[in-house]
C-alpha cells in the first residue's frame, strides 16, 4: 500500500526534508467530536508511516490551538502537518499561517474536512469515525509527498476596466477615479446612463431619475482619470488578474463634436424605427439622441436603419457627420475588471396578461416613459385628471413564476425568483398616479407585498391611505386579463381575492400596468470569456454572498449592480462602490499573491499529443512546433488543473497536486 521509496525519494530531493508528519484532529467544540471519535482518528493516523506526532484539540483554530501546532512543529521537528477540522474554505489559511510561523513552508500543510464532509452529514458514529479516519490517513499519505512551494507574485497593472455605463458602472468608475485609479469605462450602447436614464422618478427619495444620473455622469465625464468609450463591445479577453488584455470593438458613431445643431440633422433624416429607449412607445430617426440631456451630447447613427442617403449631412453643411465612419478595435490593458452589465426589464410574452393584445396593457417601464415630461407623451397619460379613471397594477409579471403554472421562457425555464424591486416601484407609481389623478381608482393585484427596503414600506402605507385597493391573488391561479364583454372598458382583470376568502372578483380597468421583473442582460459571451460562475437564475454568481459579495471566483473580476441579481438603484450603487473599493484595494497592493499550484510540462515526457491545447480554458498552453511539445505559460496559468487531469501521459503535473501526491491519497481512500 505504501510506496517505501516515496519517503526516501522526497527526502533526497534537494530542499525537501524527509517527512515527519504531525496530525492534529479538531473537536470543533463538539461539532466534530460529538459524532466522530477524534481520539481514535488520531490513534489510527499515528500508525501511518512517517507519522511522529498526533493529538486532538477542542478548537484548533483558536489561538491556543494554533499555538499548539506551532509548538509541536518545533518540538518534534515536524516537516509535514495535517489538520483535520472544518472546511478548508474556512481555516486553511489560518493553519497555513500557523505552519509558516513555526518556520515551515506553508504548502507542507494538508487540510482535511471532517466537519462538513463527515460529522455534519453522517449520524452513525461508527461510520463517521471510519470515514474521518480514512480521510485523515489519505491526507497523511499525500502529505508525506508534499514539497515546499513558493507563492507566485504577479504585478498588477494599475488600471481598471469597467464594463457597463449604467448607474452601477458609472458609480464604480467614479469611485475608482476618486481613489486615483486610472479607469476605462466602456458601454456598448452609444449613450451612457443605462436603465436608470429611462426612469422618470425614483424611490425612496421621489427624485427625478435623470437629473440625479446627470450629476453622476458629469462627475465621471470631467474626471481626468476616467476614459469613456461608448458603442464599445468586448471582443476577446486574455490574461489574468493584474494583467488583463481586453480587446474591444468600437462601433462607428458617425457623428462627432463638430456637429453643432444636431436637431437639424435629426429633422432631416427620413428613416424611422421603433425607439428602444421609449420601450416602443415612440419612433426615432436613424440619427438620434434618446433624450435631450444624454451623454455624449451628440447623436449617434443606427447603421441598421440608416440608408446613407446623406440628407443629414446636407442639413448641417457636412460638418460633424461621417457616414463612412468605420468601427475600430482597441486593446485595453487593465489589472482588474468590474462587470456592471446590468439587467433588462422582463418583456412579457405575447398575450401574457393581455400584453401585446390589449393596447391598454402596458409595462411599468412604459408607464415611466409616459410619466416622463421629456418622454414620448411629454408626461401626459391619455386621461383627464378629473375623470374617475381605473388603473390596475399587476405584480410578479415575469417573477416568482411557478413551473407548470406560468408559460416557460424561451430557455425552457420559468422566472422563479423574486425581482425584488417591482413591488416598491409599483407602489411608488401608484402613489404618483393617485396624486396626479385624484379621482382615480387604483387596484393592486399582488401575491405578497415585498416593499422590503428602507423607506419602501412607506409607499405601501401611503398607497393604502390613499385608497389603493389591494387584491391578493394566488400564484397557483394567476389573474386572467380579458376583454370586457360590455365593451365599456378596455380590459377586465378576473381573479380570486385571497383577502376575502378567495371570492371571485372582476375588475374593469382603463389601464393595466404590468410590474415586470428583472432579467440579466445577455452577456453570454463575457460569461465564457471570463469563465464567470452563473447562478440558477442566470445572474452572475459571487464567491460568497456574505463574505465576498462582489467578487467573482475568477480573481480580479468584480461585480457591480444588476448583473448579479435584481437590485434597486440604492443597492446597485452600494454594490458598485463595494466593487470599486475591492478593485482599488487590489490595485493598491501593487501585486497579487497567488497560490503556486500551476501546471508545468515535463519536456522529457510530453508526447506532443495536443490534448492539453484543446482543453485549456485560459489558452495558457502553446505548442512548440519545432520540438513537438506543449509549453505552459506561467503568467496565464490559473492552476485549474484541467490539463494535468487531461494529459494522458502525465507529462503535465500541477504543483501541489502531482500524480504521486493525488495517487497516494486515492490509494488510501480506496484501501488499495
Amino acid at each position: 500500500m505504501f510506496d517505501a521509496t516515496d519517503s526516501a525519494a522526497s527526502g533526497s530531493t534537494p530542499g525537501v526534508q524527509a517527512p515527519r508528519v504531525g496530525v492534529f484532529v479538531c473537536h470543533c467544540g463538539g461539532n466534530i467530536s460529538d459524532v466522530v471519535d477524534v481520539k481514535r482518528v488520531a490513534e489510527e493516523a499515528a500508525r501511518m508511516p512517517d507519522v511522529v506526532f498526533t493529538t486532538t484539540h477542542m478548537f484548533h483554530c483558536s489561538d491556543p490551538g494554533q499555538a499548539l501546532i506551532e509548538q509541536k512543529i518545533r518540538e518534534h521537528a515536524l516537516t509535514r502537518v495535517v489538520v483535520a477540522a472544518c472546511s478548508p474554505t474556512l481555516h486553511q489559511i489560518t493553519f497555513r499561517r500557523a505552519v509558516e510561523r513555526a518556520g515551515l513552508n506553508q504548502y507542507l500543510f494538508e487540510h482535511v474536512n471532517i466537519r462538513e464532509h463527515v460529522s455534519w452529514v453522517i449520524e452513525d458514529k461508527e461510520a463517521a469515525t471510519a470515514k474521518a479516519s480514512r480521510l485523515v490517513r489519505a491526507a497523511v499519505n499525500r502529505a508525506r509527498l508534499l514539497v515546499p512551494l513558493d507563492k507566485r507574485r504577479i504585478p498588477i497593472h494599475p488600471a481598471a476596466l469597467v464594463i457597463g455605463g449604467g448607474v452601477a458602472g458609472l458609480m464604480a468608475a467614479r469611485d475608482l477615479g476618486d481613489r486615483g485609479m486610472k479607469v476605462t469605462l466602456i458601454e456598448n450602447r452609444p449613450f451612457l446612463g443605462g436603465r436608470m436614464a429611462q426612469l422618470w422618478n425614483v424611490f425612496p427619495t421621489n427624485e427625478e431619475a435623470r437629473p440625479l444620473l446627470s450629476n453622476l455622469v458629469r462627475d465621471v465625464v470631467k474626471h481626468p482619470l476616467i476614459t469613456i468609450l461608448t458603442g464599445a463591445h468586448v471582443v476577446n479577453s486574455e490574461g489574468v488578474v493584474g494583467d488583463f488584455k481586453t480587446k474591444i470593438k468600437i462601433d462607428a458613431r458617425g457623428v462627432d463634436e463638430r456637429l453643432t445643431y444636431p436637431g437639424n440633422a435629426i429633422a432631416a433624416c427620413p428613416e424611422e424605427t421603433i425607439s428602444e429607449f421609449d420601450f416602443a412607445l415612440s419612433r426615432r430617426k436613424a440619427i438620434y439622441m434618446p433624450y435631450p440631456g444624454c451623454f455624449p451630447p451628440i447623436p449617434a447613427i443606427d447603421w441598421h436603419t440608416c440608408t446613407k442617403c446623406g440628407k443629414c449631412v446636407a442639413a448641417v453643411g457636412g460638418k460633424g457627420i461621417n457616414l463612412d465612419a468605420k468601427s475600430r478595435e482597441l486593446t485595453l490593458h487593465s489589472g482588474v475588471i468590474i462587470l456592471a452589465t446590468g439587467y433588462d426589464p422582463y418583456e412579457p410574452l405575447l398575450g401574457e396578461y393581455g400584453y401585446g393584445i390589449f393596447p391598454k396593457v402596458i409595462t411599468l417601464q412604459q408607464l415611466h416613459r409616459m410619466l416622463d415630461p421629456e418622454g414620448p407623451t411629454a408626461g401626459a397619460l391619455p386621461f383627464d385628471s378629473n375623470t374617475p379613471v381605473r388603473i390596475g397594477f399587476l405584480h410578479c409579471v415575469g417573477a416568482r413564476q411557478i413551473d407548470g403554472v406560468n408559460a416557460p421562457q424561451p430557455d425552457g425555464k420559468v422566472k422563479d425568483y423574486c425581482a425584488r424591486t417591482c413591488c416598491t416601484a409599483a407602489m411608488h407609481a401608484a402613489v404618483a398616479l393617485r396624486e396626479r389623478f385624484p379621482k382615480s381608482h387604483i387596484t393592486s393585484f399582488y401575491q405578497d407585498m415585498r416593499t422590503y427596503g428602507r423607506g419602501h414600506e412607506e409607499y405601501y402605507e401611503q398607497a393604502s391611505q390613499q385608497g389603493v385597493l389591494f387584491v391578493r391573488y394566488s400564484p397557483w391561479h394567476p389573474p386572467r386579463v380579458d376583454k370586457d364583454r360590455t365593451g365599456k372598458w378596455p380590459v377586465v382583470v378576473r381573479t380570486n381575492d385571497l383577502l376575502t376568502d378567495g371570492l371571485p372578483i372582476e375588475v374593469p380597468l382603463d389601464l393595466l400596468v404590468l410590474a415586470t421583473g428583472v432579467v440579466p442582460h445577455d452577456i453570454s459571451e463575457l460569461v465564457t470569456m471570463y469563465s464567470c460562475a452563473v447562478g440558477y437564475d442566470s445572474f452572475l454568481l459571487e464567491v460568497h454572498p456574505k463574505l465576498r459579495p462582489v467578487e467573482l471566483a475568477v480573481s480580479g473580476v468584480f461585480l457591480a449592480g444588476c448583473c448579479q441579481g435584481p437590485m434597486d438603484i440604492t443597492e446597485a450603487c452600494s454594490a458598485a462602490s463595494a466593487a470599486a473599493s475591492k478593485a482599488a484595494a487590489m490595485i493598491s497592493q501593487g501585486q497579487v499573491e497567488m497560490d503556486p499550484f500551476i501546471a508545468s510540462v515535463d519536456e522529457e515526457v510530453c508526447t506532443g499529443c495536443q490534448t492539453c491545447l484543446t482543453v485549456c480554458p485560459y489558452d495558457a498552453i502553446v505548442r512548440d512546433e519545432a520540438r513537438g511539445l506543449a509549453i505552459v505559460s506561467e503568467a496565464l496559468c490559473t492552476g485549474c488543473g484541467t490539463c494535468a487531469a487531461a494529459c494522458p501521459s502525465s507529462a503535465i503535473q500541477q504543483a501541489g497536486f502531482n500524480d504521486r501526491q493525488v495517487r497516494a491519497e486515492i490509494d488510501v481512500l480506496l484501501g488499495v
Binding site: G628, S649, A651, R663
Partner: protein
C-alpha cells in the same frame, strides 16, 4: 540505453534463457518466433534452459538448478492461480534477471478483465450457466482430491489476477500484446551484449518513451469529440486523428514502440503497450483526457456521449486493469 555493468550478471559461456507462460493466451511465446531468422543467431549464443512451450522441462529440473542459474527469464502472463505464483517465485530465485514480458505479466492484460467478477461468478459462468455446457452433476474443480494412491493437491484459483510484480521482484517490464518482433529482437540483442539499463521494476524495455500519437501519422485538428463511434460501424477518414473522429483510440495514453501498428491499419489503438509518460493508471489517464476533449457542456450531453461508449472498462482498462487504481471489482 545506459549500461550498468550488467555483464557481470552474465555467466561465462552461452547465455541461459528461460521463458515461462502463466495467465496469458500464448501469444507472447509465439512473439519470440517473430524475430524470424534471428532465431538462429539467438541459438548460437543462448541455451534455452526452461521453456515449457517448446521443450519438455519438469518443474523439478528448474528446482534443481542452482539459484541464479538462468541468466534471463522472460515471464509472460499474470498470476491467476497458486501454481503460477509458485512458479513465479521459483523462477525468480533461479533467474538473475526476470522480465515481466508482455501486457499480462506487466499490467494483468486481458485476463485481468475477469477481475470485474468474483471467483464465484466466474465458476458459475464457466461450469454452470454457460449455454454450451453439459454439466448435469454440477461438478466444479476441487483443490484437494483423495485417491487410493494418495491425496492430490491442485492449484487454487485466486480471486483476482495479479501482476508478476505483485508477487515477486521484477527487474524489467516489457510491454505489448504481444511485444512486436523488432522490439523483441532489440531487447534480446541488448541482453546478449550485456547492454541493459539499470535494474528497476519501473524501467520498461522494448518500447520508446513517447506515446503512440508520436508514431502515428494522423493529423490532429484540435476539435472536440461530438460523437463516439464503434470501429465496425463507421469508416474513419484517413490521416485524421481517430480519437477526434470519435473512435475511442487509446494512442494518447499508450506508450510508443509498436510503430502505431493499429492506427496505421485504420484501427484504434487498444493500449497494449501500457501507460505513457509518467502516468501510472492508463485507463484513468485516458478517461480524464477523453472527459476533457468531449464536446459536452452540460451533464446531460456528457451522459449522452459517454453512453455511446460500449464497455468502458473493457475499452479503457483492456490491458491494464490489474495495474489500475481499480484493480478489481470489490463486491460488498
Amino acid at each position: 540505453m545506459t549500461t550498468n555493468g550488467a555483464t557481470s550478471d552474465r555467466q561465462p559461456g552461452k547465455l541461459r534463457l528461460g521463458v515461462y507462460w502463466a495467465s496469458s493466451c500464448g501469444g507472447c511465446d509465439i512473439s519470440l518466433l517473430e524475430i524470424g531468422e534471428h532465431l538462429l543467431e539467438l541459438i548460437e549464443v543462448a541455451d534455452i534452459v526452461f521453456w515449457p512451450c517448446v521443450a519438455d522441462f519438469k518443474y523439478r529440473t528448474v528446482a534443481d538448478y542452482p539459484d541464479g542459474y538462468i541468466d534471463v527469464c522472460l515471464f509472460n502472463g499474470g498470476i491467476r492461480s497458486s501454481e503460477q505464483e509458485q512458479i513465479a517465485r521459483l523462477v525468480r530465485r533461479k533467474s538473475r534477471t526476470l522480465v515481466a514480458y508482455g501486457a499480462c505479466a506487466m499490467d494483468g492484460g486481458i485476463p485481468a478483465l475477469a477481475n470485474l467478477e468474483s471467483t464465484r461468478e466466474i465458476f458459475d459462468a464457466v461450469y454452470h450457466s454457460n449455454p454450451s455446457l453439459q454439466n448435469p452433476g454440477h461438478v466444479e474443480p476441487q483443490t484437494h482430491w483423495a485417491t487410493p494412491h494418495g491425496d492430490l493437491e491442485l492449484p487454487r484459483l485466486y480471486p483476482q489476477v495479479l501482476r508478476l510484480a505483485d508477487i515477486v521482484e521484477v527487474d524489467y517490464q516489457m510491454p505489448g500484446c504481444p511485444p512486436v518482433g523488432t522490439q523483441v529482437w532489440k531487447v534480446l540483442q541488448a541482453v546478449v551484449a550485456g547492454e541493459v539499463p539499470a535494474r528497476n521494476a519501473a524501467v520498461r524495455v522494448g518500447c520508446d518513451n513517447r506515446s503512440v500519437c508520436d508514431e502515428c501519422h494522423r493529423e490532429k485538428r484540435k476539435v472536440r469529440i461530438k460523437e463516439f463511434k464503434r470501429p465496425h460501424l463507421a469508416i474513419p477518414e484517413p490521416n485524421w486523428c481517430l480519437l477526434e473522429q470519435g473512435f475511442v483510440c487509446l494512442g494518447a495514453s499508450t506508450r510508443s514502440g509498436c510503430g502505431a501498428l493499429c492506427p496505421k491499419a485504420e484501427l484504434t489503438c487498444r493500449g497494449c503497450y501500457g501507460s505513457a509518460g509518467l502516468a501510472t493508471d492508463q485507463g484513468t489517464a485516458m478517461l480524464s483526457a477523453l472527459g476533457s476533449v468531449m464536446d459536452a457542456v452540460t451533464e446531460d450531453r456528457a451522459n449522452e456521449l459517454v453512453g455511446q461508449i460500449a464497455d468502458p472498462t473493457g475499452t479503457f482498462y483492456r490491458f491494464s486493469l490489474a495495474s489500475s487504481a481499480l484493480k478489481a471489482h470489490r463486491k460488498p
